[in-house]
Amino acid sequence: MVNNAKRYWLKFSESKISVLGLAIVIAFIVLAFIGKYVVPYPEHIGSFVDFNNASLAPSSAHIFGTDVMGRDIFSRIIGSFRNTLLMGVIVLIISAPVGFMIGVIAGYNKGKLIDTILMRVTDIFLAIPPLVLAMAIASILEPNLTNSMLAVTVMWWPWYARLSYGIASSLRTENYVIYAELTGARLPHIIFKEILPNCLSAVLTKMTLDMGYVIIMGATLSYAGLGEQAPAPALGSMISQGVKYMPDQWWFTIFPALTIIVIVLGFNLMGDGISNMLGTEES
């Protein structure tokens, strides 16, 4: 076990930029947890007003400057990590297994009625431009963090269904699956012991890369005013509010935007590293 772990690490760390990605991701996760204890102005994360210090350019007191309400932008950005991470984790923890199960069941029973039904339903969800569905749901229900997480989850699972469908339907002709069937193994065993281990690397790689995209989706939703509402900080909404003040108070938008880019970059780089580590092809 230990040897395996070491081998995996060696393969992963072959690429220095993957390690950089990992570092970014770890920093992001750590800050998401302890952020509000380490930032210079923790009280700015919530509702706070100090018009005397509003719209200050970046300085040593406020490295990213302050916004129109006088809140320290750096602290708010770090403070937004918690919800950002939460959205990514919750969306993937729900949509990946659900989508995966649906895809595996459909793929394993390929050709039968259940396959057609499940895959058509998946197609329907895929037929809607992703953002449109998320926005429609998030706006029809009340705009808050929970509903936007729900919306993104609902539109995310079909991708995992597609992925596992492809793998499962080709695996079911593999000998070891047929042997398992012949010896009387029941469906749960086949799914978890025979098919899952072979999908694992593809699914894990996708999940890591997806974290970045879910974060982008979350930012897009909060840009549109869906997602967590003021005064909670959210990267997307910070950008949308800042656009009005361009170009003079450029720091309103540039820093949140850069933050998004760096975080997503971190997940993408890490995802590439995981893909190398597990030996999957870039896809």
């Binding site: 329907i124 953002l131 449109v132 926005m135 982008i216 897009t220 549109a224 656009v243 998004i260 880019i261």
Partner: protein, 341 residues
């Protein structure tokens, strides 16, 4: 060719099924919102009898499946109801705004394909040399950046610091009038013989289309490069080399074609993503398109408009996927068979 036709007919049939499913979902969403739709449409001050009459007319008192059938009937006749924001029939709104978005999506979807193939081929040809490194490095950063961030960046650069490209201000500069034949400004201008106007419209399209497509260009470039490299080691390429076929011909024709097919087949998904991202980009650039309209509708809880747009986008999306599949079938003969396995 008839197998091609059969496949198309089959896809069409499935497409209709999918669209019906989509409409059911939208409809249910529509009717699920808390609150009284009749009251919301007529406002809080309308007298109760009017509201009741409205409910009757709109069949709100009927069971849900029946309501759906009425709605489907309306939709089949082209009636999506009234927009509560613009107070016009939704169809009129759509007709006004859709072409702008369509044009944007077309420009963001199609020309970039050639760039991504080009970049991918360059990356493969100069593997591990500086052009390759440059492309790969920049692609990491570009892919990590959401489209709306690009839009903001472009706005900053070209709107304020270096105003050489038009940013906000719609599809065409003042002073040009173009008769709306198709609704696609560049095309209309060309049809009308107004070269300068066409160029102007194109310039207006450039930044939003670029913002929408940048990420995809780099992703497809990466894919193309990886497929080209993978395929160049395949037996069928080695066989051609071993027969003395010139390397240039092999690269241009026999290596290129199988390598671009998987990338092209993702186009449909890309266009879906572009449609989605168009929402924000249109808002940022003040582009008078359907997405901006829909954004306002969503934020204003204009249910009829939202459903109309979503359904319409669903139709467009399904059609686009079909077109992409047909293109792939033309390129890759293996796809022409209906999969019987």
């Amino acid at each position: 060719m008839s197998s091609l036709v059969k496949t198309i007919v089959k896809r069409l049939a499935w497409a209709i099924v999918v669209l019906i499913g989509l409409s059911i979902i939208i409809f249910c969403l529509m009717r699920v919102i808390p609150g009284d739709p009749a009251r919301m449409a007529l406002g809080p001050t309308a007298p109760e009898e009017i509201v009741e009459l409205y409910r009757e007319r709109m069949h709100f008192n009927e069971p849900l499946p029946v309501q759906y059938l009425y709605w489907l009937n309306d939709v089949a006749h082209g009636d999506f109801g009234q927009s509560t924001v613009t107070n016009r029939p939704v169809t009129a709104d759509i007709a006004e705004f859709l072409p702008a978005t369509l044009e944007l999506v077309i420009w963001a979807g199609i020309p970039p394909i050639f760039f991504s193939l080009l970049l991918g081929v360059i990356g493969a040809m100069y593997k591990n040399k500086w052009p390759d490194y440059l492309i790969r490095f920049s692609s990491y950063i570009i892919i990590a950046t959401p489209a709306f961030v690009w839009a903001v960046i472009f706005l900053l650069i070209f709107g304020y610091w270096l105003p050489i490209l038009p940013s906000i201000g719609g599809r065409i500069s003042m002073g040009f009038t173009v008769p709306p034949v198709t609704g696609l400004t560049v095309l209309d201008a060309l049809l009308d013989g107004q070269g300068a106007a066409a160029w102007d419209a194109f310039l207006h399209l450039f930044l939003p289309a670029l913002a929408l497509s940048l990420s995809h260009i780099m992703q497809e470039a990466r894919l193309t490069r990886s497929y080209m490299l993978e395929n160049s080691a395949k037996d069928y390429i080695i066989m051609m080399t071993s027969q003395g076929v010139p390397k240039g011909l092999i690269n241009r024709k026999f290596l290129l074609k199988p390598s671009i097919i998987p990338t092209v087949s993702i186009m449909g998904l890309d266009i879906a993503a572009i449609f989605g991202n168009a929402f924000l980009v249109e808002t940022i650039f003040n582009w008078p398109g359907i997405s901006r309209y829909c954004m306002k509708a969503i934020l204003g809880k204009d249910i009829n408009a939202v459903c109309g747009v979503v359904l319409l986008l669903g139709v467009v999306f399904v059609l686009t996927n079909m077109i992409v599949d047909i293109v792939v079938m033309i390129l890759d003969p293996r796809m022409r068979q209906s999969r019987s396995k």
